[in-house]
């Protein structure tokens, strides 16, 4: 079936295959930042922003993207532009270890900062609760989100 959606600010028309979920559809279109971690909505590696909300793309059927605005990490900065403040802060703080959960973390953090520019530590923890990381113990991720929040407020 034909799907029309806005992907990272650009209108696209894609063919979805029968039974395909949003994660597979996005990866088939070379959006490699959207990761498969469990396929069951538990780990958050496949997080995307759907109309600005952080959601698990493995739990959406492709058709649910019809007419919606989808943001992936490929779209949070201009292709030749500087990194998003969250990306800079993650790298600076050592919040990226293996990097497999990072795109999902960045998007959940971005959604948080859009609605709450000055989150407390607890609010950051709540917003990232659905994104699992096995490498970092989350300490540096939380610090990075708050560093980026500070810079984005300035």
């Amino acid at each position: 079936m034909d799907l029309q959606l806005t992907l990272n600010g650009k209108r696209v028309v894609w063919q979805a295959e029968p039974g395909e979920n949003a994660l597979d559809l996005l990866r088939r279109h070379s959006l490699s930042s959207v990761k498969w971690g469990c396929g069951e909505g538990d780990c958050g590696a496949c997080t995307i922003l759907l109309d600005g909300r952080s959601v698990r793309s493995c739990l959406l059927v492709a058709a649910q993207l019809q007419g919606r605005e989808v943001t992936t990490v490929e779209g949070i900065k201009e292709p030749a532009g500087p990194p998003h403040p969250l990306q800079t802060a993650f790298v600076e703080k050592g919040a990226v270890q293996c990097g497999y959960c990072t795109p999902g973390m960045l998007l959940s953090a971005k959604a948080l900062l859009a609605s709450n520019p000055s989150p407390s530590t607890e609010e950051v923890c709540r917003a990232l609760d659905g994104n699992l990381c096995r490498c970092t113990g989350y300490q540096k991720i939380i610090e990075a989100v708050q560093l980026a929040a500070g810079r984005m407020r300035d």
Partner: protein, 776 residues
């Protein structure tokens, strides 16, 4: 090198060299690199804990349109080997072949299919007809050696390839026994003695990227394997062994990988994609499902009986550690993990008499393997809880008790010589040792014994606990790491290392070492790692070895290259080599003259005495210097629900020089988080038929942001003279602390000793109830 000196890039928290690419979601992982026309593989797995295949009909699967190849025991050669990615000859038994006619655990391989789509592959699995004769299964490790117990490895060709005890007829994978002094006498003669039993459970590594691998047949008859592995060179050797090919026909590339923690020290799926690609002549990709990943490899469950004795003044006397380790259906890492129980725990304290003895047994449970901590995690739990019991019985503060008894710089332990990788180990004296500083600094930062105590009648009760730890840095006289460096005409360098960055940041750390020696900025060091065609050999990322071992190989190669650069500069400037040094991208002469590295690079490649500036270096080690660590935890126990909340956690670690402090802290934070999960919430559960009951993140919870306290890490600098710029290891040690520190804190809070991990609300309530009944 022996003296400490000021460094420019070593010791700085430079950003991880691959950090921004990863944060941009670039296609760096295995699954991001599938070629067009790639087939997808799926594995049919045993739903029986123990069974013999009577008949297997794969024809309906083979006939399904879109299926390219089906593998099973009838069409794949039987080559006994191990999945453990260890140096050859491996200390793990050869008790595994690609497919066998016997199934030894729920999840064992029956067949594998490659098809045009994952859905077709799954459909094909459903068409395979399997008939089995079920056999009695052993799930409980204590029953593995009972008289008349079923033999799990009754195949005549299971064997060991190094001279160690292996008696599969008795389900015995390994047996170790050594004694120094007279333990029984020492236990009987001392003022106080202790005898307790402790147990640790099955747990899983849970990397967010599961095992995945891609095999591509090349037109020249070779096979290229891109795989999420910690051990690319062992993958090449073991896949070659399985295929009965020469190593030269296989190239293994490790892309970025989404975590490993030991699970990817196993060669678990590369043989399957290799065979399927060879049979079909097409590229084949396999990624384990999350349920399969949970049943891929686990931590060895152990039962430990620990007996100790101590004088009234608090001097440790004798120790007797006896371990029963459950390796599951295959013996990978069985022997070496259990050896680590002794070798990474007993040397921490001074003992007069030491006995360490252990049995490793087969069961029909999930297969255990390498897991961060590697046996030290389980044994440190027993030891550090018993240390707390001793200190309390003697009325000595637990911190003081450890300060009194821990091993010092310049001292040795007979355990180093007695216990190695299965056989004897390598004697060593302790060099750097910051444990006393770790204890004092962490106790101060944490506020040890300075917090107000809760009333013993309160529902929520708080307590403090602590533990001391050591690990090693590489396997002495076994591990080897190598590096090569070549110079380009703009003064940049290609650094090629076999070492495997699994997210830990080793590419960055190794580049820091090269940049330090060569006097250039990080941007001038271009790292290529873990490609068996391009990079020199390295055993891989395990045994806490990369910084210490591969780092020294890099330092040696860079030293040689620096010497070559000075020689070229000496020729251009007409000065003696000894008057020249490298700094800030230049060669500088004592008289103030200087040449840029770009000038030297261009000269060497295009102008005079043309010659590629470059060098190889390899490194092995005679030592495995332990990092040391002290952990402190505060918990709050809800006496009505049994729930334990960790309120505060401080870990001080002596890893020698931290080449990159932010990355070192990250290793400790991640290890502590994983250890807290193991102590409190993580446990693989089996039903009575050996089936895994909780193979998903929903049922097997790993800590999320809401489950962890603030973890405060203190790096206590020391200088390890045998390591590059004074560095030791840091990546594993942190996972060993939470089990004992939390157990001791729970005792402090509510007065019950938990010796069976994990510390679930059910166990705490049961212990509280038992204590109440005892006192009334």
């Amino acid at each position: 090198m022996s003296a400490e000196r000021k460094t420019r890039i070593v010791g700085r928290s430079v950003a991880k060299s691959d950090g921004m690419e990863l944060a941009c979601g670039a296609p760096l992982f295995c699954e991001d690199q599938l070629p067009p026309g790639c087939l997808h593989a799926r594995v049919l797995r045993s739903s029986y804990a123990h069974a013999r295949i009577v008949s297997l009909d794969v024809a309906p699967a083979e006939q399904l349109e879109g299926v390219a190849a089906v593998l099973h025991h009838g069409n794949v050669p039987r080559v006994m080997r191990t999945t453990a990615g260890q140096g050859a000859p491996e200390p793990s038994p050869y008790d595994f072949t690609t497919f066998d006619s016997k199934l030894r655990y729920v999840g064992d391989r029956v067949a594998a299919v490659a098809a045009e789509t994952p859905e077709l592959a799954r459909q094909a699995l459903g068409l395979i007809q399997l008939e089995v004769e079920q056999l009695p299964a052993i799930i409980d490790a204590h029953k593995a050696q009972a008289p008349g117990a079923v033999v799990i490895h009754d195949e005549p060709d299971a064997r060991v390839v190094i001279p160690v005890t292996y008696e599969p007829q008795r389900n015995l994978v390994a047996h170790v026994d050594f004694q120094v002094g007279d333990v029984e006498k020492g236990l009987a003669a001392a003022d106080a003695s202790f005898d307790r039993e402790y147990s640790c459970h099955y747990a899983q590594h849970a990397p967010i990227e599961p095992h995945c691998a891609l095999a591509e047949p090349l037109a020249n008859g070779r096979l290229r394997i891109t795989t999420s592995t910690q051990v690319p060179f062992h993958v090449r050797r073991i896949v070659a062994q399985a295929l009965q090919w020469p190593v030269s026909r296989i190239r293994v590339i490790k892309p970025r990988i989404g975590g490993g923690f030991g699970a990817k020290q196993e060669v678990l799926i590369e043989d399957l994609v290799a065979f399927l690609a060879v049979r079909s002549g097409r590229p084949v990709f396999l990624r384990l499902s999350r349920a399969e990943e949970f049943n891929s490899r686990t931590r060895h469950p152990m039962h430990i009986r620990l007996r100790t004795s101590v004088s009234a003044k608090g001097e440790l006397k004798s120790v007797d550690m006896n371990v029963l380790s459950n390796t599951g259906a295959y013996g990978c890492h069985g022997l070496t993990v259990v050896c680590n129980c002794g070798s990474k725990v007993l040397p921490l304290y001074r003992w007069d008499d030491i006995r360490f003895w252990a049995d490793v047994v087969y069961t029909n449970g999930p297969v255990a393997g390498a897991y961060r901590g590697y046996g030290a995690t389980q044994a440190a739990f027993a030891m550090e809880v018993q240390m707390d019991e001793m200190a309390r019985a003697l009325g000595i503060d637990p911190v003081q008790f450890r300060l009194q008894n821990h091993i010092r710089s310049g001292e040795t332990s007979p355990v180093f010589q007695a216990l190695g990788e299965g056989g004897e180990g390598v004697a060593q004296n302790i060099g750097s040792n910051g444990l006393a500083k770790c204890l004092r600094q962490a106790a101060k930062e944490f506020g040890w014994r300075r917090r107000p105590r809760r009333q013993s009648k309160a529902i929520l009760r708080r307590g403090q606990g602590m533990a001391c730890l050591m690990q090693g840095s590489s396997i002495p006289e076994v591990d080897m790491g190598a590096a090569s460096i070549k110079m380009n005409e703009d003064g940049s360098f290609n650094l090629l290392v076999g070492a495997t960055d699994l997210g830990t940041g080793s590419d960055t750390i190794l580049a820091q070492i090269a940049a330090e020696v060569l006097g250039v900025e990080m941007a001038q060091i271009l790292v290529t790692s873990s490609d068996t065609d391009l990079t020199p050999f390295d055993v891989g990322a395990y045994a806490s070895s990369t910084t210490y071992l591969s780092g020294e190989a890099v330092r040696k190669a860079a030293k040689t290259v620096a010497g070559q650069i000075r020689k070229v500069a000496a020729n251009i400037l007409g000065l003696p080599v000894r008057k020249l040094s490298l700094a800030e991208g230049q060669v500088v002469a004592a008289d103030g003259q200087s040449l840029t590295l770009a000038r030297i690079g261009a000269s060497s490649l295009y102008e005079k005495d043309q010659n590629q500036i470059g060098a190889f270096a390899s490194h092995t080690t005679q030592k495995s210097p332990p990092p040391f660590s002290a952990h402190f935890a505060e918990v709050e126990v809800d006496t009505e629900t049994g729930l334990v909340r960790v309120l505060d956690y401080v870990a001080a670690v002596d890893c020698g020089t931290a080449i990159n402090p932010a990355l070192a802290e990250g290793q400790v934070e991640g290890a502590v988080a994983n250890g807290l999960g193991y102590a409190l919430i993580e446990e693989i559960k089996l039903d009575e038929r050996g089936r895994l009951r909780n193979g998903s993140f929903r049922e097997y919870k790993i800590p999320s942001t809401l489950d962890l306290p603030k973890i405060r890490v203190i790096l206590v600098p020391t200088y390890e003279a045998s390591g590059p710029y004074g560095a030791k290891s840091v990546s594993e040690i942190g996972i060993n602390g939470p089990l004992p520190a939390i157990a001791n804190a729970i005792f402090d809070a509510v007065g019950v000793r938990l010796r069976q991990a994990p510390f679930t609300p059910e166990k705490i309530l049961a212990a509280l109830k038992a204590a109440e009944q005892e006192s009334s």
